[in-house]
């Protein structure tokens, strides 16, 4: 499924990059046009997401009515974590979420045929076809919460720290994307998209909790080394709040990002090899 199939002439790397940038710009334009066709719905979905975010913050507020700390985490540190987790989740939603959850539908209806024939990398076009613009609004509200929480904590991060934070958040987005894409490809045949979406939302719930709350055990090991939900938002926030125990946590996050992406690529290639269109 590579762009360098015999049919298309070999293109130099910079030219290829420009071509993909052009394609992606066109996908963005399409998404904007599509979203603006349903303005009320667009706004209502933003409200829904904001409401659920507020809900999570309520939970934190209520818990901290009854305790000073959860393990080593103070109230505003957890709020910062919730903000970061929401930010990462929303950026992931904006770029990838709809596309991943649509994959099983593409398989069921056989429309994947069409995408396989396009002269671009199929995974690229499947993963980035739709852009969910509303999610960027919600990502902005998450940033606002983070800024406020950082202010309450008296954090004054420098440019280098912010850049590192951003890079780690990007790694988190990539982890979410790789895992959900893997989930979508593995469950090609048995499970409907609705359940995949629902299943993944449960994983988000783990990502916004402080890792120190979990004692070493099966649960913590699974969500650190298999489905690294406890790294995705925790590591960037610990960097920002000077809570990192050691540098290895950062390396672990980056390493797990690479592993997750590699595994999802492997799963994708396997699934496509087994793909036999829909009966038509």
């Amino acid at each position: 499924m590579d762009a360098t199939s015999p049919a298309s002439p070999p293109v130099a790397a910079p030219g290829r990059l420009r071509r993909y940038a052009t394609v992606y710009a066109a996908l963005w334009r399409n998404s904007i046009v599509r979203e603006m066709g349903f303005k009320t719905n667009f706004l209502l979905w933003i409200v829904v997401e904001l409401l659920w975010f507020a809900l999570q913050l309520c939970f934190v507020a209520v818990i901290y009515q009854h305790t000073e700390r959860i393990a080593t985490w103070s109230k505003w540190e957890v709020v910062l974590l919730m903000g970061a987790s929401q930010f990462i989740q929303q950026v992931f939603t904006a770029l990838f979420f709809t596309n991943c959850s649509n994959l099983s539908e593409l398989v069921r209806t056989g429309r994947l045929d069409f995408l396989l024939l396009l002269p671009v990398n199929t995974r690229f076009v499947i993963s980035l076809r739709h852009v969910d613009l509303g999610a960027f609004v919600n990502a902005a509200s998450a940033v606002a919460v983070m800024v406020y929480a950082a202010g309450r904590l008296g954090l004054r991060p420098g440019v280098v720290e912010l850049a590192a934070f951003g890079a780690l958040c990007a790694a988190g987005v990539l982890i979410h994307y790789s895992l959900m894409f893997l989930l979508a490809t593995v469950s090609f045949w048995t499970v409907r998209a609705q359940s995949i979406i629902w299943g993944y939302h449960n994983l988000f719930n783990v990502a916004r909790l402080p890792d120190a709350a979990f004692r070493p055990g099966m649960f913590k090991a699974t969500f650190t080394f298999v489905l690294p939900m406890l790294l995705v938002a925790n590591v960037p926030v610990k960097l920002l709040a000077d809570k990192l125990d050691a540098g290895w946590e950062v390396l672990l996050l980056l390493g797990m990002t690479a592993v997750c992406f590699a595994v999802s690529e492997w799963g994708w290639r396997r699934s496509v090899r087994h793909y036999t269109s829909a009966s038509s």
Partner: protein, 279 residues
Amino acid sequence: MDGGNERPGTPVSKYWHVIGIGIQNTLVYRVNFLFRACFGLIPLMATIYLWRAVFRSNPDQASVAGYTLAAMTSYYLVATLVDMLTAVAEDDWQIAADIKDGNISQFLLKPMDYLTYRLCLFAAGRIIYTSVALAPVAVLLLVQREFLLLPADGLTAAVFAVSVVLTALLQFFVSYTMALLAFWVLEVSTFIFILFAFEYLAGGHLFPLDILPPPLLAALNFTPFPYQLYFPVSVYLGRVTGAELWQGLAIQAGWVIAGYALARWVWSRGIRRYSAVGG
């Protein structure tokens, strides 16, 4: 429920038939259900561990917000159980789709009541979901058994059972009414999610409501939300007793009747509009 123009001898048995068909249809989704049930345990475990960390962080207190560690863990476990038995899964989407696609037209001709028909399908769905989800949930209960409290006595257990049935009915009527919005708007999912967000907080999915400041709890008690989950769970845990128990049960029954009336009323309004559009 108006059996006026039905042939005698069959009014009840036909709905049993619907349940049977519903069971057969939902059996198709058993893998989905298992998938859902298993994934649903992840945030549950996470929340239980989070509370455990809260208790560890306050070692000098035996209870936090009036809950011991066992009571708090039991709250979430029993809430999961009640949710498994009563939550509306896809019924609201299906009802909305039935209205949008015009499938309800046939029910206007048949001697079958759409609400009762839907209630039967809801019951069938819950039976199948419960029997599939029981395995993973039972494993969890077994793992957490040292923290699982049992009802204090037989009466508590019985009232709990009644309250769970009322919860299921309330859940259904609320979702049914929300889905009927499809008579007026094209896309009901956002409204359903907005209501669900309120229910998630005010119903006690996130945390037991009595750890909230008392005035807030008092305000919530005027809404139907606590009766959609929190009430049966607190009955189970013995946190409502005596006169409060019977009063709560009566209020819950009141909300069920109100929900039923509202569902009927909205349906009759919607049908009027539906005929106008489709006619």
